[in-house]
């Protein structure tokens, strides 16, 4: 096409980058790196300190034995480790389906006032202090049953998982491009089937991330378990009985007057972190293998 206006002659490509701009560029890069270090440093420090303090008490006894009576040395947290796993399993069974289901509802059918209300509620629930959740679980489950239980603990943790899972699931489902859903509709696939088999399946990776996020968050919670699972010095696999949990045990041991228990508390804290990291990694690997 004809160029009727002559552009001023200026060769932008050949202009040198001024000293000031280069300085600012380096400053920005440097600040970013510094920020990363600042963020990672506490993480590394915590982990390092835990290993330093806890590795001594982390032995076979610790992993296999139940706590000894106060004052006696030795014993371990095997029941607490198992108990945590048990309670988290219950929490997942309760929380994950409800959370994903709510997320699906919000993404597919919740583009309206009612959906906004649910979203708002979920966000508020996310911010509720964990001890308040614990008290609510106490009122709903413990009082009605008449005793502490793993179920109550699972319920409390589930209540904390649900908002996170719901919101992430919704976001991930909304990220699935419309054209993929249209392809399914075009084939005569019903709406619910499309949502489950196509949309959810496409968003699986993101949904799992959401679940893992929620899981990692509640795995180390102590307050909600204080008056729901309550803790136990013995093995327990019954759903309606008080159950030990790693976080509770660490709390009890750390606030006790016994040195041996203090050392075991450090080991317990280390154990907690290690178990969380391991479980998240395991799920990632398992999920990764089913994807192409």
């Amino acid at each position: 096409m004809s160029s009727s206006t002559a552009l001023p002659q200026h060769d932008f490509a050949a202009a040198p980058i001024s000293l000031r701009r280069r300085f600012l560029d380096n400053l920005a890069t440097g600040s970013a790196i510094a920020a990363v270090i600042l963020v990672l440093a506490p993480l590394v420090a915590i982990f390092g300190y835990l290993i330093y303090k806890g590795i001594g008490a982390l032995n076979w006894d610790f992993l296999t034995q139940i706590p000894k009576p106060p004052g006696e040395t030795g014993g371990g947290m095997s029941n607490a480790i198992a108990g945590s796993a048990y309670i988290l399993l219950l929490a997942s069974i309760l929380g994950v389906p409800i959370g994903i289901g709510a997320g699906i509802y919000l993404a597919e059918y919740g583009r309206n006032k009612f959906g906004d209300i649910i979203r708002f509620t979920a966000d508020v629930l996310n911010g509720v202090p964990s001890i308040v959740i614990g008290i609510v679980a106490y009122g709903i489950v413990v009082i009605r049953q008449g005793h502490f239980s793993a179920l109550a603990g699972g319920a409390a943790l589930a209540m904390m998982m649900i908002p996170t899972i719901t919101r992430t699931t919704e976001e991930m489902l909304l990220l699935v491009p419309n054209v993929v859903k249209e392809a399914a509709y075009g084939l005569g696939v019903s709406r619910w089937r499309t949502t489950l088999s196509i949309t959810l399946r496409t968003a699986t990776s993101g949904v799992i991330t959401g679940v893992m996020l929620a899981f990692a968050r509640v795995a180390g919670e102590t307050a909600p378990l204080l008056f729901t699972a309550f803790g136990n010095t013995y093995w327990n696999w019954k759903i309606n009985e008080p159950t030990a949990a790693l976080s509770l045990q660490v709390f009890t041991y750390a606030t006790s007057p016994y040195d041996d228990w203090h050392r075991q508390a450090w080991a317990g804290a280390l154990m907690l972190i290690v178990l969380i990291v391991l479980s998240v990694t395991a799920v990632r690997i398992a999920a990764g293998r089913t994807m192409k």
Binding site: R111, V180, E182, L187, G188
Partner: protein, 252 residues
């Protein structure tokens, strides 16, 4: 075999906006009919009304009568049921990203409850052959994901997926607009062969494509069907001045 399509007094709305006005058209079985017109003329809306995909947009509505063969699209079965008899290929190739090539082609069967594994294998192979894709993917179709193919191959995969459920009619909404000329050429060749089994309606804004593949052409403008005739007539001596102005580039 393909069937004819009769459309009577089709009106389509998006909320209060009318997108199509009193469309009457008769599409001949086992022929390819092109729908052309400038942007916003309603050609995509028209085609999407044929298989009720128009309804997936909130606040969208359509009135009138559409008969595809013996099937009454609007006064009979549910939209889902209708869409199983009508195949659709979209503008941007959209294979299911989490599924393999094989699973993509079989998706229409599997997701609708078809369980016979052996027959599925046969159908997948036949559909991929129909789409001129089988030889390129036959060794990797179980392992490679649908999204790992090139653009032209992906679109042929979508065609295979659409024909696997043996529809009577194939709707194509600008199927080549995202593709390079060679892939476009392959798909146009495909349309010639697909005509033997299906009735094809193709939306295109490329007039040369319409003149290459379609026996009949309909010209839409501002939601109305201005002219519908044999393609040669439309492109050599159209009856309506608006049609002529559009195809000679005097507007649009």
């Amino acid at each position: 075999m393909g069937v004819g399509i009769q459309v009577e007094k089709l009106n389509a709305f998006f909320g209060k906006t009318q997108a199509l006005q009193d469309i009457n058209i008769s599409v001949l079985a086992n022929h390819c009919t092109a729908v052309i017109g400038p942007s916003g003329c309603g050609k995509s809306t028209f085609v999407r009304c044929l298989n009720r995909m128009h309804e997936t947009v909130p606040e969208a509505k359509a009135t009138g009568r559409v008969r595809i063969g013996e099937m009454d699209v609007y006064n009979g079965s549910s939209a889902t049921h209708i869409r199983r008899r009508i195949g659709m290929v979209f503008q941007k190739p959209n294979p299911f990203p989490t599924m393999s090539i094989y699973d993509n082609v079989a998706a229409g069967l599997k997701l609708n409850g078809f369980r016979d594994r052996k027959r599925t294998d046969e159908i997948v192979e036949r559909s991929l052959t129909y789409a001129a894709l089988f030889h390129e993917v036959k060794d990797t179709m179980h392992k490679k994901s649908g999204a790992s193919l090139s653009g032209g191959q992906q679109q042929r995969l979508c065609i295979a997926r659409a024909v696997a459920v043996e529809p009577q009619v194939l709707l194509m909404d600008e199927p080549c607009s995202a593709l390079d000329p060679i892939s476009t050429g392959k798909i146009e060749e495909l349309i010639f062969q697909l005509k033997e089994k299906f009735t094809i309606v193709i939306v295109t804004h490329n007039m040369q494509q319409a003149s290459r593949v379609a026996e009949f052409t309909g010209f839409f403008l501002l939601g109305k069907l201005i002219e519908f005739d044999k393609t040669e007539k439309i492109f050599t001596n159209p009856s309506d001045k608006r049609t002529e102005d559009y195809i000679t580039g005097r507007f649009g």
